[in-house]
């Protein structure tokens, strides 16, 4: 047993360090070599995550002190059920999007090249032809004098930034202490800002706004962490949780600092998750990012903040009665987010902003469980002999549901954003009206959009359905019927806005009086990058959204590993 164990521990360190190393090395490489390296790294990380997931599923929490230094000054990596699930989702989405970006370098952004170079390479050999027409048109609107630089599709800076971001994400997921969580969050935030900025001139203001928000959120988190340390004397997540629980048990202890810390941390992380009313930055950032970047931002980057939020609320703070007001405020903001995000999504006429607003709406679901955690009646119910509830069943159900919703959202939204970005690159627009009937020309893209819509609405079989089901049952068990109302309303709303997005693409000219006028596809007919295998990427993710719905029971089982109850 020792050999596979040490191997898994090696994997635990490698999922953080390998992408970081690859990120640093890829800076030295040329464009084509970076693509190869990116794909190899992503497949390797997928391979490294598998033993971690298997080991954790078998019921073991993995723990590794890097370099043999113990806390407080050493770095402890720890993987429990929650970590393993988020690691796995990140690895799957990351690997698929990496393959997509390698197959379609034009999707990785836009860069300015000197006009002389542009003339010399008037017949570019690489696959960046797809969005070149778009780039040309925009280039004309920026600079039209010939010697000025021009915009061309494709930005090789994508690879070091994305691999660095992946390293940060994995660091957040396996971090055993709050300080490394902070460093990981910062790495994710800064690389994500730079990834948005790859979108060219239009994306720069959005990237800057995102930078302000991300840094502000991190600062609030940092102050909160320092407060927790000053109370508990440790940064370790589990140890600080124990100290706080002890303090809570002794009645005369003053927990004001912990409550203040939780307020600051929650506010900072809510900024990063884009919880209504702190969501304004997300729309321009996610919709103006390049096609290969928006799925990463929406599926993975905001999940890092969500993960930390769950960690702090469940592992560090525990059920402190002083936090009830804060939990209700956050849950209320979540309910409002579902409403506001959905209504705003319905009002969009363009595909990518609509999907971005749908992210805002879906983020609301992840905050609904907080009042359940703190309800003293929940634990009282469990204690009674008449009920069939096991110890911690309500909490397990609520957490399982929320995690299932978050993971399902990650897969579905990555697929949806990939497909939408692909259509935008094909036709040079993402106006839904102009894309009417695109389903006939690109059945696979629109099919994957449909599959991910199934996941986002939460129709049966999908992971979204499993999540809503688990959350709803535990809400009923705890007597919180308002969650049911919110879930039903959210489901109806998401069906409405996703139909609005997908239905026009499915229109066939036979059953519609108006003639279909798709914009001239801005691509060479022989451009394999836009019509070929790259379309498989959103399809694979869409398929996974639906297939993973079978994993509901397994998922709650994995979450039990290292659970705080």
């Amino acid at each position: 047993m020792t050999a596979p164990m040490s191997l898994t521990l090696f994997c635990l360190a490698a999922v953080v360090l390998l992408p970081l190393l690859a990120s640093a090395l890829s800076v030295l490489l040329g464009t084509a070599a970076r693509r190869v390296m990116g794909v190899i790294t992503s497949v390797t990380v997928l391979g490294l995550v598998t033993p971690i997931l298997i080991q954790v599923t078998s019921g073991q929490t993995l723990e590794l002190a890097l370099g043999g230094f113990e806390s407080p000054l050493g770095i402890t990596l720890r993987a429990d059920g929650l970590s393993a699930l988020f690691l796995a989702m990140t690895a799957i989405v990351g690997a698929v999007v990496s393959c997509y970006a390698a197959a379609r370098p034009a999707a990785t952004g836009k860069r300015l090249v000197p006009a002389a170079e542009q003339r010399r390479r008037s017949h570019p050999a690489d696959a960046g032809i797809g969005a070149e027409a778009t780039a040309h048109r925009e280039a004309r609107s920026v600079v039209h004098a010939d010697p000025s630089p021009v915009w061309r599709a494709g930005h090789a800076g994508f690879w070091p930034l994305w691999l660095g971001c992946w390293s940060g994400l994995n660091a957040v997921f396996v971090s055993g202490d709050l300080f490394n969580t902070y460093v990981g969050l910062e790495l994710v935030g800064l690389t994500a800002v730079a990834l948005v900025a790859l979108g060219g001139r239009d994306a720069w203001p959005a990237a800057l706004r995102y930078l302000f928000i991300a840094v502000l959120g991190s600062l609030l988190f940092l102050i909160g962490v320092a407060l927790i340390y000053s109370v508990t004397g440790t940064l370790d997540i589990i140890a600080s949780g124990e100290v706080i629980a002890e303090l809570a048990a002794s009645h005369d202890a003053d927990l004001a600092a912990v409550v203040l810390a939780l307020c600051l941390i929650s506010l900072g992380l809510a900024l990063k998750v884009a919880l209504v009313p702190l969501h304004r930055w997300l729309i321009p950032a996610h919709s103006s990012a390049p096609s290969a970047v928006s799925p990463l931002l929406s599926a993975l980057v905001i999940k890092a903040a969500l993960f930390v939020l769950l960690r702090v609320w469940l592992w560090v703070a525990g059920p402190l009665p002083e936090l009830v007001i804060l939990a209700w405020v956050l849950a209320g903001m979540g309910a409002v987010a579902i409403l506001v995000g959905s209504v705003m999504a319905l009002r969009q006429s363009r595909l990518k902003p609509l999907i971005a607003y749908s992210t805002v709406a879906q983020a609301g679901y992840w905050f609904l469980l907080l009042p359940l955690l703190l309800d003293p009646e929940t634990t009282a119910l469990e204690g009674q002999t008449g009920t069939t509830l096991e110890d911690g069943a309500v909490l397990a159900g609520a957490l399982g549901g929320t995690v299932a919703l978050a993971l399902g959202h990650g897969l579905a939204k990555a697929s949806l954003f990939l497909a939408a970005g692909h259509l935008k690159d094909l036709y040079g627009t993402d106006e839904i009206d102009e894309l009417r009937g695109a389903g006939r020309a690109h059945p696979m893209l629109v099919m994957s959009m449909g599959l991910s819509a199934v996941g986002l609405i939460g129709l049966p079989l999908s992971l979204g359905f499993t999540g809503k089901w688990l959350l709803a049952t535990s809400a009923v068990a705890a007597g919180h019927y308002w969650i049911l109302v919110v879930l039903v309303a959210g489901t109806l709303f998401s069906a409405a806005y996703l139909l609005k997005a997908v239905a026009p693409l499915l229109v066939m000219s036979e059953d519609d009086q108006t003639a279909l006028t798709l914009p001239q596809a801005q691509t060479h007919p022989d451009d394999r990058a836009l019509t070929g295998k790259a379309q498989l990427a959103p399809f694979v993710l869409g398929l996974l959204t639906v297939l993973t719905g079978f994993l509901g029971a397994w998922l709650t089982g994995v979450l039990e590993v290292g659970a705080p109850w």
């Binding site: 609107s141 300080f179 840094v215 502000l216 991190s218 609030l220 320092a226 340390y229």
Partner: protein, 141 residues
């Protein structure tokens, strides 16, 4: 300076040194935050964010001194004599490094945004009757 004088006049309420620093740090952070949210000038916003960052790091330093003084921190016992907690100092140093990183990134972005705007404005002055550009020339300000 006004703030310092006001805080000194409040000194009648018997603030310890750490509490004083905590207050000043909070005040700096809040002032930076308010300025960041109210101004539209990009460079001013970046600097305001820096001020917020410094304020929050000051809060953490004050906490570090307090933790070391009370001496109940596991890491702070040896350093109790020097009066500062090593773990929280490490937090502050990392915070400083990250401040440098985000300021650099922000400065590059601001330079690019304003450079693009300047180029655009120069072009609109060049030929006023270019229909493609007249729309988005004045999207800011």
């Amino acid at each position: 300076m006004m703030l310092a004088q006001w805080a000194l006049s409040m000194g009648a309420v018997e603030l310890t040194q750490m509490q004083w620093y905590l207050l000043v740090g909070t005040a700096i952070a809040v002032i930076g935050l308010v300025r960041m949210l109210l101004t539209r000038d990009l460079l001013a916003r970046l600097i305001a964010l820096n001020v917020t960052g410094i304020g929050s790091l000051m809060i953490i330093l004050a906490l570090a001194a307090r933790t070391a003084e009370s001496g109940d921190a596991t890491g702070g016992t040896e350093a109790a004599g020097s009066g500062i907690d090593p773990v929280l100092s490490a937090l502050v140093i990392t915070g400083l490094v990250i401040t440098v990183a985000f300021t650099g990134l922000g400065a590059v972005l601001i330079r690019r945004i304003e450079g693009a705007q300047d180029a655009e404005r120069a072009h609109t002055l060049d030929d006023v009757h270019d229909p493609e550009r007249s729309g988005d020339a004045g999207d800011r300000e």
